[in-house]
């Protein structure tokens, strides 16, 4: 707990986990706001304009929190991970700098226009502004995913005489196979967060008999979007992401699944706690042969277990990795079930008479945040013990000049700061939701 390495890891993990609570909501809401604006424009229905204004307000607050918690992220490569920053700057600084130049300018300019300029610019330009915000926030996501994908699956570079990585192919960096699937998986994850959030607010309005007209509008849009996103999240994006892990990080796959010994026709674990000391799973419940099929498309395929790999290649926190992965997949399955049931009731026009379903929808909004967080924990813990997979180990990358004491000082500072931010954010969103839509 007191080593500089641990502190620097916690520092980054804490600040990025907290940061990503906001972008997943804004990236998920952005396409929904575009849909509202488009419906308002083509159907000439002012209700959708009001909806867009309301969600624009929630978007703006979340965007602000995303920006102010995001600035530390760009700094922390240098402040806490200086040796990593030096080693990989020749490659990943390209995408990080591109994010600033291409995405942030776009987002910040058009958000100003969207929030302050509805009267001044008219409906056509206002619709355009919402599209640009959508484009900007999703572009920003792409550059970050490309950066992470390079750490997961480094390509398009060579190591120069100075011992650091240098880019040799711009397009293979940007078109990294890993990045494409990870991006889609991540963005549909964000869509799940955004649409569950919208549906939950709708359910609240309907249950509280408040703004019911808009409650139904939000429920309809939210549930349909959440159903589509939840299905795409499982297949193809989740499936393809899993295949990439199988192919390029087999030891990670073994750790995620809690598979200690190599097996042919390996089953997939639904329940069970990994016991790393005894190298077993306690009270496991399996679906036989499913892991072999999902990984290799053959029921009898051989799946390598952890013991097939040298111990110094194992992810260093196997239980947490295992739980993160299982929480992500488990919640993903629940999302499909809940949204399918809600969509069915909506279609049969029976949702209103089914209060328990409305309650379920209303109370389910925190879970996509948890699932997205668990997904990122899976990706990043799975990459351990490497910072850049196969090239640079995590313990070789942190800022060796920053003592554990100084690191802990700022980590505590961030914790205090983010506690205050959380209270403010919850208060403001609650305030906006309760205030409702203007008439």
């Amino acid at each position: 707990m007191d080593s500089a390495l641990t502190i620097h890891r916690l520092h980054f993990a804490f600040t990025i986990t907290y940061h990503y609570l906001f972008p997943q909501l804004t990236m998920g809401l952005a396409p929904l706001i575009v849909i509202c604006k488009a419906l308002a424009f083509w159907r000439a229905d002012d209700r959708y304009n009001k909806a867009a204004r309301f969600w624009g307000k929630i978007f703006a607050v979340s965007f602000l929190f995303g920006v102010i918690t995001g600035i530390p992220m760009e700094f922390q490569f240098g402040t806490n991970w200086a040796r990593f920053a030096r080693y990989s700057g020749g490659v990943i600084a390209t995408t990080l700098a591109m994010e600033g130049v291409f995405a942030f300018f776009l987002e910040s300019s058009f958000l100003g226009m969207f929030l302050y300029g509805e009267q001044r610019f008219g409906p056509r330009l206002h619709l355009l502004a919402s599209v640009m915000i959508f484009a900007g926030s999703w572009l920003s996501g792409y550059f970050i995913i490309v950066t992470d994908a390079w750490m997961q699956h480094p390509i398009g570079f060579d190591v120069g005489l100075d011992g650091s990585a240098h880019l040799t192919s711009f397009w293979s960096l940007l078109m990294n196979d890993w990045a494409l699937w990870q991006y889609l998986h991540n963005m549909f994850g964000a869509c799940i967060t955004g649409s569950f959030f919208m549906a939950a607010v709708g359910a609240y309005y309907v249950l509280a008999r408040k703004q019911e007209e808009f409650g139904w509008l939000f429920l309809r849009m939210g549930i349909i979007a959440a159903l589509i996103a939840s299905i795409v999240q499982l297949f193809p994006t989740g499936d393809r992401s899993g295949q990439l892990v199988t192919q390029h990080q087999p030891v990670t796959l073994a750790a995620m699944e809690g598979l200690f010994n190599t097996e042919a026709g390996a089953g997939i674990v639904l329940v069970g706690q990994p016991n790393t000391e005894a190298q077993t799973l306690d009270n496991p419940i399996y679906i036989p042969k499913a892991l072999s099929f999902l990984s290799y498309r053959r029921w009898e395929a051989r799946v390598q277990g952890l013991n097939d790999f040298p111990k110094d290649q194992w992810p260093d926190n196997i239980p947490l990795l295992y739980y993160s992965y299982h929480i992500m997949v488990g919640l993903g399955t629940v999302f499909i079930a809940v949204t399918a049931a809600a969509a069915f009731l909506l279609w049969r026009k029976r949702l209103f008479e089914t209060p328990w379903m409305l309650w379920t929808v209303m109370l389910s909004f925190p879970f996509p945040f948890i699932a997205n967080t668990a997904g990122w924990l899976t990706a990043e813990l799975g990459r351990q013990p490497w910072l850049v997979y196969g090239l640079m180990r995590t313990d070789a990358g942190f800022s060796h000049k920053i003592s554990a004491g100084n690191g802990l000082f700022t980590l505590l500072g961030f914790m205090g700061m983010y506690t205050v931010l959380s209270i403010l954010y919850l208060f403001l969103v609650w305030h906006d939701v309760n205030h409702g839509l203007e008439d």
């Binding site: 530390p72 402040t79 700057g89 600084a93 300019s109 226009m113 700022t410 500072g413 700061m417």
Partner: protein, 345 residues
Amino acid sequence: METLWFILVALMLAAYVVLDGFDLGAGVISFFVAREHEERRIVLQTIGPVWDGNEVWLIASGGALYFAFPMLYASGFSGFYLPLMIVLWLLMMRGIGIELRSHVRDPLWWSAFDFLFSMSSFLLAVFFGAAIGNVMRGVPLDRDGYFFEALWTNFRVGPNPGILDWYTAMTGLLALVALTVHGAHYVAAKTEGAVNARCRRAAAMGWPVLVCLTIASLIATSSVRPGILENFRLHPWGWIIPIIVAIGLVAMRIFVTRGRDRAAFFSSAAYLAAMLGGAAFANYPILLPATTDAAYSLTIYNARTGDYSLRVGLIWWIAGLALAIAYFTFMYTAFRGKVSRRPGA
């Protein structure tokens, strides 16, 4: 190629200082010129639609700096660890100070956020100035190009300096005064009536202090870094920079007395850009001078990234910036004009 990127990064930083400079200055000045809720709201509205975009220049410059000179980023950001973290906290407080004030209609809420906004703007101006002071004075780089500075040691300029010593405290003060005057010009140009008049008075009062500090800092810099004027001797055309600084100073005085707020604002913008340009020109090709051994200094040659990246970078960077400038021009034209008292706005 590395010289070109040096110029590009310097230009981006200058754009950041000029643009975010006025909204930082507006934060400081709002404490003095806006006396009640409505006036504070007006000052905030002058920067409301643009501050976020201005701050993106910081992120973009940081990104470009990391891109072109990864070693400088790795070394500088870890070496200036403590002040950077404090700057991050201040940027957060300032962001919420600006954006959340209008969310709740309550005088107590307003005054809390006004304080947050002004206080964080004030401290940020000082910290940014001190940062430039550190880069001018030099830092204790080791053989591998890394260092770490405590917030202060003995306040003396020596081989083991802290972030704050008498010299960097002075540059911090200079930045505070310069940005305050710059912000006063901006708010004056965007407002009418009492706020406008008070801004002009504040700018006029700040001016003599700014002139004295500018001169003092030039003298101090040449005593802290004796060889600092070398580039001016080698390339005499560089003297145009101090001349612009002087013209900017004189012009802002003249325009403020004549009540030409926009012209005064552009004068202080030119002053700020020229001050930064001068610092960059004097340091070239050094990026971060070492106080330990001159050979350990980070230069554009030992801190740069690979050739291929720099070449490809030029293409996307020009395309991206062209787009950014297009958005900015559009935004500033769309929101031009004065912010006035509008009921219910």
